[in-house]
Amino acid sequence: MATKMKIKKSKGGGYQALVLAKHPMETGLRKDKKTGEKIPRHFIKTMQFLLNGKVVAQANISQAVSKNPLIGVSLGDARPGDKVSVSWVDNKGGTGSAEKTIK
């Protein structure tokens, strides 16, 4: 599944990573309109942010986060030339990742 990342300059200095992951984020409460059966829960659980290969933050998310999650996290010590990567895992073992170098 597609994962996109943008690096933005924060207002107060430093950088922030903005990640858009394509994911259905099923709550487990929704019903299939045709069959009337509940659609099982399917959501991203953790999203790790790495700065030059080192984990600096981990977002724990749940089914209550909207479809195609857009997650923003500030990167404190980041500088131009640093490599930022993100990788996520969902509750069914699905994964996704993206990588960017700060300009």
Binding site: L29, A57, Q58, I61, G76
Partner: protein, 156 residues
């Protein structure tokens, strides 16, 4: 005799393979353990906060701010942003009081990140108080806002 050595070799390689598989699986299990399961499963705001932040004292603070719409037209996509001017942020959490499970998302901050900003888009079933909590220096700082929802976004 020859057959025995062959068998021994086969057994050794099988156990080696098992070890390799276990090694590969270990990091995934570690990740799953880090996910605050009980906080996410809790149906009560106070219980979820206690479970995630522990016994740290909680106080309302103006050093943390929450940015959310006053009125959300679509409860399925409500943008929420928690920002703070505090230093040494350890973790950030976002909760929606009236959701079946209030604990929506959290951020664990490690050295190298500041935790000054955490934003996401959440689903809201109905009009509710939304909480942003930031743990820094052993204290939990809280801020909240009411978001009015005209169309719920929790399926059904």
């Amino acid at each position: 005799m020859k057959r025995r050595t062959l068998l021994k070799g086969a057994a050794a390689s099988v156990s080696l393979l098992a070890a390799a598989v276990a090694g590969l699986l270990a990091p995934v299990r570690l990740l799953a353990a880090d996910w605050p399961q009980t906080a996410f499963d809790s149906e009560n705001v106070a219980a979820a906060i206690k479970d995630y932040f522990g016994d740290a004292p909680i106080s309302d603070s103006d050093q943390v701010s929450i940015k959310a719409p006053l009125q959300a037209e679509n409860g399925a996509v409500v943008p929420i942003k928690v920002t703070t001017s505090l230093a040494n942020v350890e973790s950030v959490a976002i909760l929606v009081e009236k959701n079946p499970r209030p604990f929506v998302a959290s951020l664990d901050v490690m050295p190298g990140a500041s935790g000054a900003l955490f934003s996401t888009r959440v689903k809201m079933g109905q009009t509710s108080q939304v909480f942003g909590l930031v743990k820094a220096g052993g204290k939990v700082h809280r801020v909240s806002q009411v978001v009015k929802v005209t169309v719920g976004g929790c399926g059904g």
